[in-house]
Homo-oligomer: 134 residues x 2
């Protein structure tokens, strides 16, 4: 796969998460984007996504760190599907954790050609199992 | 999950595949959509997608049938991510086969509100393994 400009966009978004910089983080989302907070719980719109991230940061005692272990980019008609090996680590209730997810992120280009995240679903196709579809 | 209008769109597209109705099938795609034909092989644009499907129909000796065993819909900012348990069956070289994939389909709404497929990736996050990202 050739290198894709979205790689640096996603790395910058991860940096904003790791620094808990909500103002910077919100710049990566389209106005009516949807974040899958957990299976069955979606946050739609920048304000709700911002509140969800603030709650996530609190939940993990401000220890959450995210990085991508590998990414695949598929682009079509002004949209892009990013498949990512998303690695999360931190500490919860005194125990350190390492989580690996196979995530699915959808982006679209705005009229200036800038990529904005429209759907942030770190659970990938595992949502099928969580919702009883498999 | 509530019922989503994309369910009937995808069922109609599957019907077009099963009937090898390429004219009807192409109506579901955006002009510059991308079909992941197989890992590492993408077809972009309606004409190339049409040719890819014609080759797929030939490859399976016109036996290919597709249906969705379960779907999850996540919508954000005029786009939708469909996660699907995609079931394929048919006959190849005299042997019947049943394949299950956890697929990822991206749609966007056009100016009339009609959903068009922009990225058709039946391999879902398995592309990460195929391309060495995991």
């Amino acid at each position: 796969m050739p290198e894709h400009e979205l790689r640096s966009v996603i790395e910058a978004a991860d940096h904003a998460i790791n620094c808990e910089n909500l103002d910077a983080l919100m710049e990566f989302y389209a106005e009516d984007a949807t974040l899958v907070v957990q299976p069955g719980m979606h946050a739609t719109g920048k304000q709700k996504i911002r509140e969800a991230f603030a709650a996530i940061f609190d939940y993990f005692g401000h220890s959450l760190a995210v990085r991508q272990g590998g990414m695949v980019f598929v682009e079509g008609s002004g949209t892009a599907l990013v498949l990512a090996r998303t690695l999360l680590n931190g500490t919860k209730d005194g125990q350190s954790f390492d989580i690996e997810r196979h995530a699915t992120y959808v982006f679209k280009q705005d009229t200036q050609g800038r990529w904005l995240c429209t759907i942030d679903n770190s659970y990938g196709t595992d949502l099928l199992a969580h919702t009883g579809a498999v």
